[in-house]
Symmetry: C2
Subunit: 495 residues, 2 copies
């Protein structure tokens, strides 16, 4: 669907009835003020305006009776003063002004209203909870759809919608719904550097109208979404959620993260989005029943999405590990076992083939393969190919690091201080090894410790994911993500 | 003890009988070649020479009959040709040349020989295992002490000994023994950026002579060591190890990491250092009995050492969390509960005090405290002080991040692009809050994702540890480290 071309609202219950919400013809941000030095967070509305401006959304309007223009965007006293149609309004006005804004939106024929505005039911104040109910009911009765309150709204790169400057403008196959705006930002930020791109990201906060179940139903059908991730704090309607999750998980990999697993977390959930967290045991059983993959943190969610996006499906749980470092190899073996995968001894013929080009001293070829040959010309390709071709191996983990001077020495040995050509050569070797061995290869790149290490790590990570390799920061995180891909595979094969 | 001043060898069994090993008058590296382009790892001996040169050790000699000088260091045909006394020899020669080198060392009156040389018992080859036994017996019979084979040897900043260029030259209170050279490098590198400095680091490999028990006995008595960390793959003499660990853990906090916990790890351990890993259940029971703190990874070991070094001892397990982000706060509450700590609701009077300077909308003050006030002038100090003074709080966790542009906006609001003054102001607020509240404060700084975030994170991290704050990358890692400090405290109070 082209940018700027809106669908009419579909009848409720239609599979893609929410689609027009993601394709507004125009957006207006209500409650925007110019930057105020000394009060960096006083004008969050400005953040929405700048994010939309940065991502190139047009036409874009600001609303605030005090200004004619904010950061180069024309500013109106009221939504009603805007000349053209307004499909989508972001409310950054205080809670007490919200009723008047809703009246204006109804009169203007706005289709969707997103309340960043917080201070409603999540405060625990009955009066504010009542106000939330009344304004949401008034809007929905008039046919508007409501996002929030207390949320960041939409990041839809194909529609040039964004709630955060700096997010990729490129679209991709992952749909993500999040009851927390902060988690939505963390998830996109931490996964973007690992190559994850999004179809739709929805931060839906208190879920007074649009909530987790409707969004899952939508993403299950959405042709632009191939992988679904969801962060939820509480479920409004358990039966509907169960049906939606089952439908989504049958259609696509679904990764679910639940906030409020403990007594303290459950309490924090109520303060955050006025949700009742429910029992994690029940939630876990539900996920297992429908073959959704449950995770415990944003890191694990990003890892699982990276694995579903880039790993491919290993035939089984038998992992070969290759990299430099004897102690690291010992941990790798322990950590692979602990993740429920296997780290079998390589067949004699594979060890013999490796021995052809690997020195005996200071190396180990049984699995994990601990060798410095990986750093010699062509050694990476030969090593990964041999271990990947072994009959008892389903997936290969290659671990490396670009921190702490080790790389500096490598670079100079390869005749230059520009690491890009050397890394390019590494990735080409990995691509050839993967093609020859016919098994998935995952990369573990340890977290850098200094600025120089970060420069190189960022560069290598991007080359890896652009060549279709999943990248993880540690062996346990890689192993857990691989185990989750296998968990879903086994679950799908169940009768 | 001043640099260059050596102790005479003490009688075996004396508490500090190993001390002279750490204070050689001179060092010679045998098996050094000049840099060879295209073969970056061909000359590992050179790495030792450069590390010692970089750390300013003198007098330093190279040994190789082919050269007169290597990288500005005078090179001799044999150890016997060196004019002055040679206390410490690093062997980087191939295994087959080792017997001749040992003869020369005995004739020269060398006190300690460190075999980086690998390819001995860890290959699983009986002939090489026999050679290892013979050369080690010959050396020790002649009164030499042997480190290794198959190890990196010593990093002792106060003696200017180092096995890795770029390690801090500054000494500190942590003693670390590691059966793996790679883990020794990882541990020092990852903890150095968090403010950990070392008294002695010993990579002891196959432990043919000097091993884990003797080193623990030494560190237990060493006045320059206040905290002990140990990575072991296998124990040669269980009874002696038990006594040594008990003695060390009674004297100082001892953090122990065991490689080879699973079937695959146990197998990898043998390939690495020819050790027999033994049962992790027995090892775990042993640690609990003597009140040593057991961890499962280098990351957890670094975290525990950081906590013992900088946290101080909390009176109990009740944690207050402060930072920005509702979803992050929900996880924090879950993760603190899951680590066995507590995240209690703050008293009404504390919430009222916070409410004085914190807006209602979009914040939560019950605990976790989720507020943007932390970023307003003076807000960090007031918030941390109030929560730290609460009667039901023993320790405060402040979480923040310097990635993804959030900081850029902050910086500009504080009138500049140089983040240093702003961070300085933050740390000063934290110092004052800690003094006023009288409870430990720990910092959780999320891992940066880009180069700019890394620049800022490195800067803030250093300011934090220089002001005595422990820094962790995630809430679960901080919570686990705090739980370990409390575990040792409770264990010490047991009758």
């Amino acid at each position: 669907m082209a940018i700027g071309e809106a669908k009419p609202p579909a009848a409720e219950g239609g599979a893609l009835s929410l689609d027009y919400v993601f394709h507004p013809r125009s957006v207006s941000v209500a409650g925007v003020s110019p930057p105020q030095p000394g009060a960096p967070f006083a004008g969050v509305g400005l953040g929405f305006l700048l994010a939309l401006k940065d991502s190139g959304f047009e036409p874009l309007y600001a609303v605030n009776p005090k200004y004619d223009e904010v950061e180069g965007v024309r500013c109106y006293a009221s939504v009603l003063d805007i000349e053209g149609p307004v499909d989508y309004v972001i409310s950054s006005v205080p809670a007490r002004i919200v009723p008047a804004l809703v009246d204006d939106c109804i009169a203007k024929g706005v289709k969707t209203i997103h309340f960043f505005t917080a201070g409603f039911s999540e405060t625990g104040d009955e009066e504010m909870a009542g106000l939330e109910s009344r304004v949401v009911a008034k809007a929905t009765d008039a046919g508007l759809r409501v996002l929030g309150p207390n949320c960041m709204g939409l990041y839809v790169p194909s529609s040039r919608l964004s709630f955060h400057s700096g997010f990729p403008l490129e679209a991709g196959p992952v749909g993500f719904i999040s009851q927390s705006g902060g988690n939505a930002i963390d998830m996109v930020a931490t996964s973007a550097v690992r190559g994850i791109r999004y179809s739709r990201v929805v931060s839906y906060g208190n879920a007074a109208d649009i909530g987790e179940s409707e969004l899952l139903e939508y993403l299950a059908e959405d042709p632009e979404t191939e992988i679904i991730a969801a962060y939820t704090e509480g479920i409004k309607d358990g039966r509907r959620f169960f049906r939606a999750l089952r439908k989504a998980a049958a259609a696509k990999p679904v990764v679910v993260l639940k906030g409020g697993r403990t007594a303290s977390g459950t309490r924090a959930v109520f303060s955050h989005t006025a949700s009742l967290a429910g029992s994690i045991e029940v939630f876990d059983a539900l996920c297992r029943q429908v073959n959704a993959v449950r995770v415990d943190s944003v890191e694990e969610m990003a890892d699982a999405v990276v694995a579903f996006r880039f790993l491919g499906e290993p035939a089984g749980p038998r992992v070969a590990v290759a990299g430099g470092g004897g102690g690291f190899s010992v941990f790798a073996a322990d950590e692979i076992d602990e993740a429920g995968l296997q780290c079998p001894v390589l067949p004699e013929e594979t060890q013999a083939a490796l021995r052809q080009f690997t020195p005996a001293a200071g190396t180990s070829l049984r699995n994990p393969v601990d060798t410095i040959t990986l750093f010699e010309p062509g050694g990476l390709e030969k090593t990964l190919r041999e271990v990947g071709q072994a009959q008892n191996i389903d997936v290969v983990l290659f671990h490396t690091s670009f921190s702490w001077g080790a790389s500096r020495r490598l670079m100079s040995a390869f005749g230059g201080t520009d690491p890009a050509p050397f890394m390019e050569q590494m990735v080409q070797q990995m691509v050839r090894a993967r093609a020859a061995a016919g098994v998935p290869i995952a990369v573990v790149m340890r977290t850098p410790l200094d600025v120089e290490g970060m420069e190189r790590s960022v560069l290598f990570q991007e080359k890896c994911w652009r060549a279709g390799f999943p990248v993880f920061p540690t062996i346990p995180r890689a192993a857990a993500a691989i185990a989750r891909v296998l968990q879903r595979k086994v679950g799908s094969e169940r009768p």
